[in-house]
Amino acid sequence: MDRGHKASRTLEITILSAENLTLDRKSVKKNAYVIARIDPINYGSTKADFEGGCNPSWNEKLTLDMPFQTSFVTLEVKCKTGSGERVVGMASLPISDISGDYTPESYLHFLSYRLRDSRGEKNGIINVSARVKVQVESMSPAVTKNPMRNGCSSSWQQPTLGVPAGHQKNYYGGVVTGVPIWS
């Protein structure tokens, strides 16, 4: 493997909205905002929503560098109150939800997560969209993964030989090609 080639990943996450936010068992009135954090020094923040109350809407896009060892992004909903900034709730966005499955690279995922307050109790829902972008400094041959059949492996008769006749949709798993990723 040519270790001279380097790749990096970028997380594009749009903080869309939240639902049913409460603080001290009362509906949040205003000034909710979100911090998306990969690590203590790698994060982005939305502006405060002054009008949305307990159902704020931000629609703000944040772009974060995302190391390959990153396993999740923390979404922290906060609120500016008369007594200072307070945490409304938090959720974790696993990177596996937006990368590593059969969806295309850079597929825009629309995701929602349950927020938990500082006591671990349910506290509303946060809605985001996110995609991972991979940049490679130089080109390398594409790696072909093993094709995977989508038909179930079970059947009620003996396996047949040969290739089925007729036009087939691409349900045999297809061939997923991509750029190799090094850690």
């Binding site: 059969y102 349950r114 038909g151 492996s153 059947s155 036009h167």
Partner: protein, 576 residues
């Protein structure tokens, strides 16, 4: 006191006309049901007609053709829908008259066309007065409306056929071609965006300002108001400015149709106080926006024995008003998107021995269909028209194949390496064959088939496909892996996939209703991820037919909404 409004977020969130709802092409369920029951739901399609190489029935001149169109009911009866004008002396007519029909996705809309040569002596008579038996029959053709609207050109060419003697079997003669062209009416595509605000609202709460919201209703049939949308609730605000509301012309009928706009003070008890109201059409609201003027709200009141409208100090203004066209479901179909049908059938032992008459899988020698067969046919016969090659993945679950363990996802066709069958009949044949070759077992698990369908959908994305998948699950029992099923559905909600669940037999389907987000909260996975959109629809097949809307119609009606929700949220454009 006001009425209770059942909706999300304890009644405080916008319903129907919000940006999210507009994005999802969603409407008020009550409105949708009302319009559907009266055949008013769905896009309006304008059909135009022409023909080539028609039969020449005249001796000294060419035929004078007229086209008569019929809709064909499920029982085969023909109902006349329109007649064109008579085109004189032509074997290749282009009729000027158009026919407008409501496209209903969830119904197979069969159209039958009869062409006649109108005798010269009747040329000065209104075509509506013509007796068809006195005219020369030129030929007939038929098609399904969805066959026309899914064509890239939105035109379908049909052979006109003719039998000298309909009582004698044999191949009919071809006698020309009929071309049917469809265009979606502009009104179906037009959306109005408005920002409404009020000033000096009366204070309804005892110790604070009002918590106002607007309810917009369409006025139909002798003044009956049908809610179309509702704004969000604003807290402690006597001068509210609500978020934009989105209304389609299709929702309100026309720009000139009157709308009732009611301003309520929100009460958590559900009994909201009417602050005031006004009745205006979209056209009038547009004028208000242009002029910058407001209109005073009024409040119905009684003076003595008569009702009067008390004009209030409060006013409503149109802060913003704009109109735009959006891509519709039919645009996507024309632009090459397909709906791919998939089916998964419950083969668990709770269905009963298939050889016994009381089994849900019993194959009646007389040919009468069992519940599973009926569900397959009724759903499949609609969805097949939206798939170009009509090859459908078909699975069973909960059975023990020959010499194997229980399988919770096996190919219905018996193959080890592919799951597709040809057409709806292919599903029926594979289903029957499987019944004779597997042992019913258990438990009832949905997770594996949902995950497999999701895998197909995600791989389609990877291959650049423009497909949206519809998985039909037919089951008799209570699901065993409820949490795993929820997890699979939550994950699938990010993919181009919808899931239809049909319940057969007499079991308790409460857990199915949990999966159907229409009747419950948003689904949540075991890891805290929440479904990003509603992709599940559940219907128990035992429900009686309700008026004009069948069970299957209810099952399929949400599909265009779910499809559009997916497409628009990802800004996927049709190839037009």
């Amino acid at each position: 006191m006001g009425n209770c409004f059942s909706d999300v977020a304890g009644g405080r969130a916008a319903v129907g006309g919000s940006a999210a709802a507009a994005s999802a092409a969603a409407g008020n369920d009550a409105v949708d049901h009302f319009l559907k029951s009266r055949g008013l739901y769905g896009s309006q399609i304008e059909l135009s007609f022409s023909a080539t190489n028609m039969r020449d029935r005249d001796v000294l001149s060419k035929s004078d053709p007229m086209l008569v169109g019929y809709t064909k009911g499920r029982d085969g009866t023909l109902t006349e829908a329109f007649r064109t004008e008579v085109v004189l002396n032509s074997l290749n007519p282009t009729w000027i008259a158009k026919h407008t029909i409501t496209f209903q996705f969830e119904v197979v809309q069969t159209l039958v066309f009869h062409a006649y040569d109108v005798d010269t002596q009747f040329h000065n008579i209104d075509v509506k007065m013509l007796k068809l038996e006195e005219q020369q029959f030129l030929g007939e053709a038929s098609c399904v409306l969805s066959e026309v609207v899914t064509r890239p050109s939105r035109s379908l060419t049909l052979d006109l056929v003719y039998r000298e003697d309909p009582t004698i079997p044999g191949n009919p003669r071809r006698c020309g071609q009929l071309i049917v062209h469809a265009e979606e009416c502009i009104s179906s595509k037009t959306t109005t965006e408005m920002v409404l605000k009020c000033s000096n609202l009366e204070q309804k709460d005892l110790f604070s300002r009002s918590d106002p919201f607007l309810l917009i209703s369409k006025i139909v049939e002798a003044g009956l108001p049908i809610p179309v949308c509702k704004t969000e609730v604003l807290k402690n605000d006597n001068h509210p400015i609500w978020k934009p509301v989105f209304l389609s012309i299709q929702q309100v009928g026309s720009k000139e149709n009157p709308l009732m706009i009611e301003c309520f003070n929100f009460n958590s008890s559900g009994k909201h106080d009417l602050i005031g109201k006004v009745q205006k059409s979209l056209a009038e609201l547009e004028k208000l926006h242009s002029s910058g003027e407001g209109v005073h709200l009024f409040l119905p009141t009684t003076v003595g024995h008569s009702y009067q409208n008390k004009v209030l100090k409060s006013q409503i203004f149109v802060e913003n008003f704009s109109q735009s066209s959006r891509h519709t479901f039919l645009d996507y179909l024309t632009g090459g998107c397909e709906l791919n049908f998939m089916v998964a059938i419950d083969f668990t032992a709770s269905n009963g021995n298939p050889r016994l008459p009381d089994s849900l899988h019993y194959l009646d020698p007389s040919g009468r269909l069992n519940a599973y067969q009926r569900a397959i046919i009724e759903v499949g016969e609609v969805l097949q028209f939206y798939d170009s090659d009509k090859r459908f993945p078909a699975w069973g679950f909960g059975a023990r194949p020959i010499d194997g363990p229980v399988s919770h996802c096996f190919n219905l066709n018996g193959s080890n390496n592919h799951c597709e069958v040809d057409g709806v009949q292919g599903i029926m044949i594979a289903y029957t064959s499987a019944l004779y070759n597997v042992s019913l077992a258990g438990p009832t698990l949905f997770g594996p088939v949902i995950s497999n369908a999701a895998l197909i959908a995600s791989q389609s994305l990877a291959n650049g496909g423009r497909k949206y998948f519809v998985l039909l699950i037919i089951t008799d029992g209570v699901v065993t892996d409820l949490q795993e099923t929820k997890d699979a559905i939550v994950k699938a909600s990010d993919l181009p996939l919808s899931i239809l669940i049909v319940g057969v037999g007499g079991a308790d389907f409460k857990e199915m209703e949990i999966l159907d987000a229409d009747k419950g909260d948003r689904l949540e996975s075991s890891t805290g991820r929440v479904a990003s959109r509603d992709i599940v629809q559940f219907i128990p097949l035992r429900d009686v037919q309700s008026g004009e809307i069948s069970v299957v119609q209810e099952l399929l009606a949400e599909l265009p909404t779910q499809f559009l929700s997916y497409m628009r949220s990802r800004n996927i454009q049709p190839n037009i």
